[in-house]
Amino acid sequence: MTAPSTPRGIDPRGPRFTAGVTAILFLVVIALALLGFDTAALVLAIYNAAVFLWSAVAGVARHPYGLFFKAVIRPRLKPPLELEDPTPPTFAQGVGLFVTVIGIVLFVPFGSIALIVAGAAAFLAAFLNSVFAYCLGCQIYLLLARVGVLGRKGAATA
């Protein structure tokens, strides 16, 4: 069976709330870039990247929006039907970090279009995750592993 070294489970609604906030923030990045506020768009993209970095490294259980969900929203909801392994959403945070950093780096030569394209990709993943419970790891992990980017022993998750 799976789950060899599973950490404690988390409320699956936490990552979906987190993804919803992230999706809205990427819409704001795109709006700022389209309106010509390039510096503001860049700063917000860097902020998003920093949050991704934190939760990809510290684990999604320590995600700041997740902590807000746990402290403020979760007490008002019914308890979840079951808890989930935090590994899949933590992997998704790593993917989000990668896409956002690409946008930030390409901003230097190409300008705001890089933030718009990377922001749209990040929005799409976060929106699908939040609204449709889309599982990014399910769709792209094996693609990356099969071309050898991930999956060799010791380098499992981002």
């Binding site: 069976m1 799976t2 789950a3 060899p4 699956p12 819409l27 795109i30 709006a31 389209l34 309106l35 010509g36 989930e84 392994d85 590994t87 899949p88 959403p89 992997f91 998704a92 749209a120 929005f123 799409l124 929106f127 699908l128 609204v131 449709f132 889309y134 599982c135 790891g137 399910c138 769709q139 992990y141 094996l142 693609l143 592993a145 099969r146 050898g148 999956g151 060799r152 022993k153 499992a156 998750t157």
Partner: protein, 138 residues
């Protein structure tokens, strides 16, 4: 770009994302009958006497757990049907060999280990039961 155009662009993006979401959801859990059947043989995996539900999972796959529960339960209720949950997180060569692109992916094997059906994404109980009955009847 003026504010109205930007609002329109963002609205279009949200609409496109919503359509993609419904499209993706519609493809998940569908069973595909396999015609160019091949025999599955994986070291350390023993097959069921009449059929095997072979599930491919990874550590970064949340719906793999619920799929494993459904398949485990169906295997327990059906004589000589085995559920095998194969974690390919560190074995991408197995994923390549069986052309697994997403997890969970479930292959339904007959008594000989020949692949008869393939289900991409989280399984639906009624779909698995229908496919399993078809394989067991053959």
């Amino acid at each position: 770009m003026d504010v109205g155009t930007v609002a329109l662009a963002l609205g279009g993006l949200v609409l496109a994302a919503t359509l993609l979401g419904f499209l993706h959801r519609a493809t998940q859990g569908r069973a595909r009958t396999i015609s160019d059947a091949r025999i599955v043989s994986i070291d350390g995996v023993s097959l069921g006497g009449r059929a095997t539900l072979l599930q491919f999972s990874t550590e970064v796959c949340a719906p793999c757990k619920s799929t494993a529960r459904v398949l485990d339960d169906l295997a327990a209720r059906t004589e000589e049907v085995t559920h095998v949950d194969l974690d390919v997180t560190h074995r991408p060569e197995l994923a390549s060999r069986y052309r697994v692109l997403q997890t969970p992916t479930t292959l339904i094997l007959d008594a000989d280990g020949t692949v008869r059906a393939r289900i991409g994404g989280a399984v639906r109980r009624d779909v698995v039961i229908a496919e399993l009955q078809r394989v067991l009847a053959a």
